[in-house]
């Protein structure tokens, strides 16, 4: 058992924090959204320079072969800085899907460019009617003229507007709820059959609705191997859960620290508000919640890496459930401790609640994971 970062992880985290402090201070982040930009290109270049885009890519393909454990402090740093970079969408989600679902040729074709940060891909799997069901796929794939054509709608494709192509799940056989019968495809963003509606989410990050109308698609591997597809989807969702748990715990940490600073500096009725026992007790409750998010972000990372281990599936559900609830509590309390200023767009603390809410809704919200744990009772 071990909870420390190793030397490389520590060094990388430190460099990343420096980069983000430098380029992603809250005022710069506000200016970024105000400018209409989807992300900060210089930061993205900086991430690539630090080797972060290469972190999850296998060593043989120019990466560092890092897992969810290595991504944990990285995602926490992104959460703290309210990052809008397409890291989750491209490096974590699309990257994992390709690593688990694509044949060697396609991996060799794509992953080195993703490692260098030149290529941004996006994961397009969720559908509106599925809501929190992890394997609901209505999008259809059909063979046509020696290739494949896809029809369907993918929702909340994170950073979709930045992607050169999409990793898309589509159904070859069966009903939308069937666990099998799906395959993963690569779809070029410029294909004539692709229509992308871009929008901001409530946390200011960019996402898209991807409408596929006879979009040309290339299978990642043998499309008949639907077991592999299922494992690739599940592995990608697991990587996503671990990443957003880490991100939420970083966001909660930052909200907590803002609130503690405020308690220590803000005066009212002639004394520091941090002298009020009621607020002090709330601060204590926040720390308890915060520590739970940190612990369960670790559990999620370990479970995503060790997919075969006995309790991994349960730990992923438990982590998503516990981190979302506890991080939300921290954010609510942090706003409350700030009073009016905490309700404003121009102050950071409210942005953490918005981020945590968005991340809670990805890969199944807290309630849906409680329901899945309940369904897993023997």
């Amino acid at each position: 058992m071990n909870f420390e970062l190793n030397e490389e992880q520590s060094a990388l985290t430190e460099s990343l924090s420096r980069l983000l402090t430098d380029r992603y201070g809250f005022e710069k982040r506000r200016a970024l959204t105000a400018s209409g930009a989807a992300h900060d290109e210089k930061t993205w270049a900086g991430l690539a320079e630090l080797g972060l885009t290469a972190l999850p890519v296998p060593e043989a393909l120019g990466g560092f072969g890092g897992g969810a454990r290595d991504l944990l402090p990285v995602m926490q740093a992104f959460g703290r800085s309210l990052s809008m970079e397409p890291f989750l969408s491209s490096a974590v989600l699309a990257g994992t899907a390709l690593r688990l679902g694509a044949d060697e040729a396609m991996q060799t074709q794509l992953l080195p460019d993703m490692a260098s940060g030149e290529l941004v891909s996006a994961w397009a799997h969720d559908e509106p009617a599925g809501r929190h069901a992890p394997l609901w796929v209505e999008t259809r794939a059909e063979r046509k003229d020696g290739g494949w054509k896809l029809d369907g709608i993918k929702s909340n494709v994170l950073a979709g507007g930045l992607a050169r192509h999409f990793v898309v799940s589509a159904r070859i056989a069966g009903a939308p709820a069937d666990a099998n019968g799906c395959a993963l495809f690569l779809v070029d963003a410029k294909d004539a059959g692709v229509a992308l509606r871009e929008f901001r989410l409530v946390d200011d990050t960019m996402a898209s609705e991807l409408v596929l109308m006879q979009a040309a698609a290339q299978p990642l591997a043998n499309p008949e191997d639907s077991t592999r597809t299922r494992l690739a989807i599940e592995g990608t969702v697991a990587a996503g859960i671990a990443a957003v748990c880490a991100d939420m715990s970083g966001a909660a940490q930052a909200a907590f620290e803002l609130a503690m600073d405020y308690l220590r500096t803000r005066k009212q009725f002639g004394r520091l508000i941090g002298e009020n026992q009621a607020l002090r007790h709330r601060a204590s409750e926040m720390l308890v919640s915060l520590e739970m998010t940190r612990s369960m972000a670790m559990a999620a990372a370990v479970a995503a890496d060790d997919a075969g281990a006995a309790d991994s599936a349960l730990d992923l559900h438990r982590a998503k459930l516990s981190v979302a609830r506890n991080a939300r509590n921290v954010a609510h309390s942090a706003i409350q401790l700030h009073g009016g200023i905490g309700m404003t767009e121009e102050y950071a603390v409210g942005h953490y609640l918005r981020r945590i809410h968005v991340l809670d809704q990805l890969f199944g919200d807290a309630d849906s994971h409680a329901a899945r744990l309940a369904a897993a009772f023997h």
Binding site: D126, P128, A129, G130, R131, H132, A133, W136, S155, N156, P176, A177, F199, R200, L201, V202, A207, Q268, F269, N276, A278, L279, H332, I335, Q336, G339, G340, G342, M343, T344, E345, E346, G350, H351, L353, R354, H357, V358, Q361, L362, D365, D367, A370, A371
Partner: protein, 386 residues
């Protein structure tokens, strides 16, 4: 003991319900139902319709154009407004300034302002809070010095709701810098077109523009716009804050949002099944409905029990605390129902997709504005522990 409306009250409720159904423009109703805040024009339109019917100022006496309704009738009108849903009466005009003018204003002030307040010919906002004052309102620093028949105002207000929509502001200003805290404050009516006033928007975490900062730089206000006596503005403020509490529990709002939760959950599906089939979600809605019912009856008790037993203003804090908690839980539930589909920030004019998720974020203000939860608990503790 009896929880029913009297036959007269029932008739009044039916009359109100019919009136709203027949007179509320459909597009306003739809916008509010989807969770949008009313536009300025919505509020103006509806208040003028109500004013024609004599209901624009439910608790004002008739001689000032009010409806002179009793507490239950006011609550019925409010509940039906939420139920529709229709825009609420403009609170600064009707709920706050009107009663203050009637109690402290000169006959000339009443004659001039009251009809215009009721008809929303003038939109007032409230200038109380300042940076640094927060819950400690009396520590305000915006100053007014007397120069002949004018006050000259300098300073800054913050959290000024609807200042960007408003024509006038009623403000607390310090007219005697030597006096201790509550003394030395005066209550002024200020035309926002006066030179020296700057309004800066504050966007809230729901992305909307509700609030503003208002800066005063050598702003000249006629002494005729002083309400009550100089240096006695704190009396006006106290009266204003304690005056109209019919709506403090927000029961009608909770009910309307819970009805909408059922509607939305019936409309959405998850993996092919109606969301409303989820027994956990149903039990959560049922629990909130039960607590809303408890709050509703408590609110009635507050309105109808004699004032000694209801321990004013402590009992009002009970209503505020419980109402706040329920509003926040209900809005969180709605955001959960909206789910991943509720994450997209949509333009304000998309009536079909209301800002359910942003409204959840904004609901965190319920425990901050109008006296924080901590302040309410302090008040309550004073009354029950001593």
């Amino acid at each position: 003991m009896d929880l029913d409306l009297t036959p007269e009250q029932r008739a009044f409720r039916d009359e109100v319900r019919t009136f709203i159904r027949e007179n509320l423009p459909a597009e306003i109703r739809e916008r509010l139902r989807a969770g949008h805040p009313p536009r300025k024009q919505d509020t103006v339109t509806w208040q003028r319709i109500l004013n024609k019917r004599g209901w624009a100022a439910p608790h004002w006496p008739k001689r000032y154009g009010g409806a002179d309704l009793g507490p239950m009738e006011r609550l019925i009108l409010l509940d039906e407004t939420y139920r529709a849903p229709a825009p609420l009466p403009q609170v600064f005009n009707v709920g706050m300034l009107g009663p203050v003018l009637m109690k402290f204003g000169t006959p000339a002030q009443c004659d001039h302002f009251l009809p215009r307040l009721a008809n929303l010919d003038i939109w007032f906002c409230q200038g109380f809070s300042e940076p640094g004052s927060g819950s400690d309102l009396a520590s305000l620093r915006t100053a007014a010095r007397r120069e002949g028949d004018h006050y000259v105002v300098n300073g800054q207000k913050i959290w000024t709701t609807t200042a960007h929509l408003a024509d006038w502001v009623f403000a607390l200003v310090r007219t005697d810098p030597e006096a201790r805290k509550q003394e030395g404050i005066s209550f002024l009516l200020i035309d926002l077109r006066t030179p020296g006033i700057t309004i800066r928007p504050i966007h809230s975490i729901d992305g909307e523009h509700h609030l503003n900062e208002v800066f005063f730089d050598e702003v000249r206000v006629p002494v005729a716009n002083l309400v009550g006596q100089e240096n006695k503005g704190w009396d006006c403020a106290k009266y204003l804050l304690s005056n109209e509490r019919t709506g403090i529990a927000n029961v009608g709002l909770c009910r309307e949002r819970l009805d909408y939760a059922r509607e939305l959950a019936g409309r959405y599906t998850q993996a092919g099944k109606p969301l409303l089939d989820d027994p956990k979600l149903r039990a959560d809605i049922a629990m909130l409905e039960a607590e809303t019912r408890a709050l509703e009856i408590t609110n009635w008790r507050f309105l109808l029990t004699d004032s000694e037993q209801r321990r004013l203003p402590a009992f009002a804090s009970v209503l505020k605390l419980k109402g706040t908690e329920l509003q926040q839980e209900i809005n969180a539930l709605l955001a959960r129902i909206a789910g991943p589909g509720g994450l997209e920030r949509r333009p304000a004019d998309e009536v079909a997709h209301g800002p359910v998720t942003p409204r959840y974020f904004y609901s965190r203000a319920a425990s901050i504005y109008g006296g924080t939860t901590e302040v309410q608990k302090d008040i309550l503790a004073k009354a029950i522990v001593g």
